[in-house]
Each structure stands twice: as structure tokens, then as C-alpha cells.
Symmetry: C2
Subunit: 336 residues, 2 copies
């Protein structure tokens, strides 16, 4: 059971659930990027034979869910809950996937932080014995996101250098109170932090203060520091956001140094011309379920703080002159 | 702690949290409807002095949250989490409210079922000792929903008789492991059930099978029947959906009779010309936090099964020819 202490907001799991199966799927651009070798299913056609990117996105999500289950001895019938969320309006990718899976569904929205919001919720539900096994999954698709948040890709609107490129992919994890795999030992849910940035073209900078807020609260709550982790993985701060995050953490007294990696800033190669890097729900999800889990299995990392960030706005809130708040949710994944 | 039994999906809380404070706010049309007397704050201006309905919606939500806190001895600083969701793309009402509240935020999406999804999650988090106090809130706004899901109201597009009218309002609840108030004793999270209905003009019918699925699972899991409840309150099935729900429940062996009320079908008066009745996240939320809680305080009801329904689709999924899946989440509220 969790130890909830007054004034502390990091949950410490006494019966930490394990990630007993995970799966990743991604498109051609991600295959050619830096994480290609860590992704289970690499698509040659990012449309997966579908007529719309939205249908392709939910097909990826469903496949990731099935692939994660296939790595375990369990099926969807053994899952107590499916926790999922995505960027599309009314989280249709997750909802339709939930329909096809037939598992009781807890829909969430944390923008690009959704995977870790889901892992945190799923972990506490298993730790608290509300469930034996939970499927957590998320997805994003470049074309679906572009036309929803910016412009249809057919318009060929030029990207700015500070724009981020929505990752086409999906990832899923099966959490269980039995079996083998890395444990989720802690969860820190984030607050919405708004530094007044109004441009969706610099989302990384809008999210960096939230990442720092959750980082600091996590360190303070657990009396830990960067030295206690083999890796501190942020989601999709991108080139600009990650520098700001590192600077903010340093101001707060934490020197991250080589312990820190940002999936957004590292998922693509420079020649791929993706502006400030990757973003989207699948970005940090591929980082965790692809890179982290596989490197853990290889023994490279034992204890990782996964800190997923999300920009909480909509095209409409931006058009109405609102600023962009950020949020960051964190979990500790431990393979000891 | 919850008793999780194999194959059962209803959570039974051993340390049921209490609703120690609740608040409701609604617009002029709701004031003139059947629930007017049960709503705390009645607006004469549904725009609340704002220039857009989206800004008005989040203002209502924030006010409901503050009003609910004001009925307790706690403040937002005492809240461990804010759980919120709404219908607007990227749940901006809840996200901006979370920013202003400064409480760690768990964003959810269950369409019009969001309030009960939040109550269920909040209850298990307190029951499991992951939190001492949690704020749960949701909102919807007629104009904001119309222009997002259908047409801008300025176009004066005629409603169909089977359309439902999005409720303008917000409701909030403070859950706590201490204090006085009705308890949340059980939660049943729903599955997505899709009967192939493709028209967003008959959403009540699209949601009725999901309501019946959760009802039956709840009764089976808890070995209970309609006789064990003083009221079975569904969310926004509306005139058409509620009849279908009653029929489906009867086929499954449960005669609901006068135990059943649907908020959507009863929130407005016939002369208000709202088609098949009310809908929106605020619909069932006003029903629970307004009608149920106040009638409980008067001693009329002791044990209520609140069954909130949601239609999981987006305008885009509808345009792409997809059907509309429904979901229903349930909690038991007990004032014994």
C-alpha cells in the first residue's frame, strides 16, 4: 500500500506492480530515427492501409495493445481495466480501441503526458488491490495531429524551427501484480504550470516549467536526487524545452548532467528536419516502452525516473488568446 | 480497502470516502427547469460576463470548485488531487481550472459520464489511502458544445426532436476520508458498448446499452437488485434512451419501475422545447450533486446508484462513418 504522508504528493508503492509486457509500433520516420532499433513493429505505411490517419492511429493503438498482451500469458479478458488517452478530440483513438478490446475503460487526458498519467493510475490501482492486471496504452499520428492542431498536411504549410513533429506510433504496457518485469515504484502527478507562453510553436518551453515542478516535488518528497537514478527521461520538451528544463532544475539545485535525456529531442536525426524534435503521446511512450524497457532488460539502466510532459491547450483556447499551461506526470521504473 | 474478487469488476470500498462538500451552478434555462430549486448558484447570464462560452464554462467550473470547498473546512491547499474532465476538445475547461486551482491534476475523459468516472477514481484513491481529500468537478455549456459538436448557435439550425440539449452548468464535490456527508461505497467502471448507431441525433439510444451493461454487471457483482436502492439515477439517456434502457434492463431480468429516474429526461420542462432532454457533463453532475445530495440531506433517499452515461465519439469520427459507442460508469452513494 502507498505511504501517503502529509504534504507529500509522491505515492510510494508498497506492492509495486510490474510491467509484464510492453509493445511499441511506429511509422517510417520513427524507424529512420534514433529509436528505430528499439521499436517492435515498424510500419512501412503510416496509413496502415486505412483511408484516414485517425483510423490508422487507432489501428496502431489496438495492435500495440494486442502485441503487449501477446508478450504475457494473459489476454484482454484478464485485464481488469484499460486506461488510455490520446490527443484527438474526445480521445477517439482510445475510445474506439476500448470498444474493440471490451475491457472496462478509464479514459484519461494528459496531452503528451497521457502514458505516464496512465501508468501512475494503473500502478496505484494494482498496488491498492483494485485490480490484478491493467492495460495502459496511448498513441499519436503525425497527420491526424497536424490537421487537428495546425493545418492539413496537404497544404504544405512550412514548419517553424521551434515546432515539434508529432510522433506516429503507439505503445502499450500490461501492468500486473504477478509475473516478471520492471516495477513501478513511485508516481508523482503534476500540477498545471503556466508561464504565460501563448505560442503553440514553442510548446517545449511551455512545458519545461511543469517538468521542473514535478521533478522538484518528486525529489523533495522522496528525499532523492539525480544521483539516485540511472536516467531521468523527459517526454517531449524538444531542443528548446530541454535546455530550459535543465536550467530551471539547476536553479532549483539539481544538476542533471548526463543523467537526463529528452525523448522529443532525441527521437529523430538532425537530417530529418523535424524542427525542435518529436512530440505527441507516442513520443514519451516509445521512449519508455521501447528504449527504457529494452535497455533495462540489457542491464544498462536499473532505476529510471520517467517524466512525461503535456501542453494543456486546444486550437480554440489558443485562438481565444489563452496561454499554454504545461503538466508533467512522473513514475519511477525500477528493475532491481 | 477494496475487495477485488476474481471476475468481478465492482469495487467495494472498505473505507468509503465521504462527499463532505458539493456545489452546483447552472444557467437560466436550467433555473427554469425541474432542478432549479436544487441548484446552489443560478446565473442570470449564461455568459457570466465573458466574451466566449468557453471562457464562461471554465469560470462556472472554477466557481463550483470554490463553492464546494467553501462548504468544508478545507481549501484547495488541502486537496491532494483535482480530478476533472469535460466535453471540450483537449478538456480545456478542466485544464484551465486545474491551472487556477494549483492542485495536482488528473485529467479524465468520459464524455457525459465524466463526473462519475471522477467520483469512482477519487473514491478509490482515498479508500486506498493515496489521498486524504480530492476535488472532483465537471462542466458543460450549451453554446460551447453546440458550436463544437453541431453548429454555432448563431446559425439557428433547427434541432431534431431526438436531439438533446447540452446543460449549461458545473458541479463539484469534495471527497474526504474525514468529516460528514454521504459515502461512496462502490464503483463500477464501464465498458464501451456499441450497438452500431451512427447518428449523433439519437445519442440517448446509443448510450442505453452501455447503461444496461454496467447496471447488470453492478447488480451481479454486488448480488443486489433494484430493491436495494432508493433511486437508480441515469445520466442523460433522455426520453428515447431511458425507455430503451428500461426495456433492456427488463429483458435482463431487472424491473426498474419507479426506482429509476433519468436526469436528461427530467431536467427540463416540456414547454422548454429541448428535444429529447438534457445532456452534457453537467447534466448528471447537477442531478447527483444537486438533486440527490439535497434529497439525501432531507432524508428522502438513503442509497442511490448513480449511473452516468457518455457517448464516445467526435464530430470527426461521425463524419468518417464510425458508429457511436456508449459507456456508463456507476457509483453507489449511501447516506446510512
Amino acid at each position: 500500500m502507498a505511504e501517503k504522508q502529509l504534504g507529500l504528493q509522491t505515492l510510494v508503492f508498497g506492492r509495486p506492480p510490474r510491467i509484464i509486457g510492453s509493445a511499441t509500433i511506429a511509422g517510417p520516420k520513427e524507424r529512420d530515427g534514433n529509436l528505430g532499433d528499439y521499436i517492435d513493429a515498424l510500419l512501412t505505411d503510416s496509413m496502415m492501409g486505412e483511408f484516414t490517419p485517425e483510423k490508422a492511429e487507432r489501428k496502431m493503438l489496438y495492435q500495440a495493445a494486442q502485441d503487449a498482451l501477446a508478450k504475457t500469458t494473459l489476454t484482454e479478458d484478464d485485464m481488469d481495466y484499460f486506461i488510455g488517452g490520446d490527443l484527438l478530440n474526445q480521445i477517439i483513438s482510445s475510445s474506439f480501441c476500448a470498444r474493440d478490446l471490451g475491457i472496462p475503460f478509464i479514459g484519461i487526458y494528459g496531452a503528451c503526458s497521457s502514458m505516464v498519467e496512465g501508468l501512475g493510475l494503473g500502478a496505484l490501482m494494482i498496488d491498492g488491490q483494485y485490480a490484478d492486471a491493467i492495460l495502459v496504452a496511448t498513441s499519436s499520428h503525425y497527420q491526424a495531429s497536424e490537421r487537428q492542431f495546425r493545418y492539413p498536411v496537404e497544404l504544405n504549410v512550412q514548419h517553424k524551427g521551434t515546432n515539434q513533429w508529432t510522433v506516429t506510433g503507439a505503445a502499450a504496457a500490461v501492468l500486473s501484480n504477478q509475473g516478471e518485469g520492471p516495477k513501478i515504484t513511485h508516481a508523482t502527478f503534476g500540477r498545471v504550470i503556466d508561464f504565460g507562453i501563448k505560442s503553440p510553436d514553442i510548446m517545449g518551453a511551455a512545458m519545461a516549467p511543469a517538468a521542473n515542478d514535478t521533478l522538484c516535488r518528486h525529489f523533495q518528497d522522496t528525499n532523492s536526487s539525480p544521483g539516485d537514478y540511472d536516467l531521468i527521461l523527459t517526454g517531449d520538451l524538444g531542443n528548446m524545452g530541454q535546455q530550459l528544463f535543465v536550467d530551471l532544475a539547476k536553479e532549483a539545485g539539481y544538476t542533471l548532467g548526463t543523467k537526463h535525456k529528452d525523448v522529443g529531442a532525441s527521437i529523430y536525426k538532425p537530417h530529418q528536419r523535424t524542427g525542435a524534435g518529436g512530440s505527441g503521446c507516442a513520443c514519451v511512450a516509445l521512449g519508455i516502452m521501447g528504449y527504457v524497457i529494452k535497455e533495462m532488460c540489457q542491464g544498462r539502466y536499473r532505476r529510471v525516473l520517467a517524466l512525461a510532459t503535456g501542453a494543456l491547450f486546444s486550437p480554440l483556447s489558443y485562438q481565444q488568446g489563452e496561454s499554454i499551461g504545461g503538466i508533467a506526470h512522473a513514475v519511477v521504473i525500477d528493475n532491481n
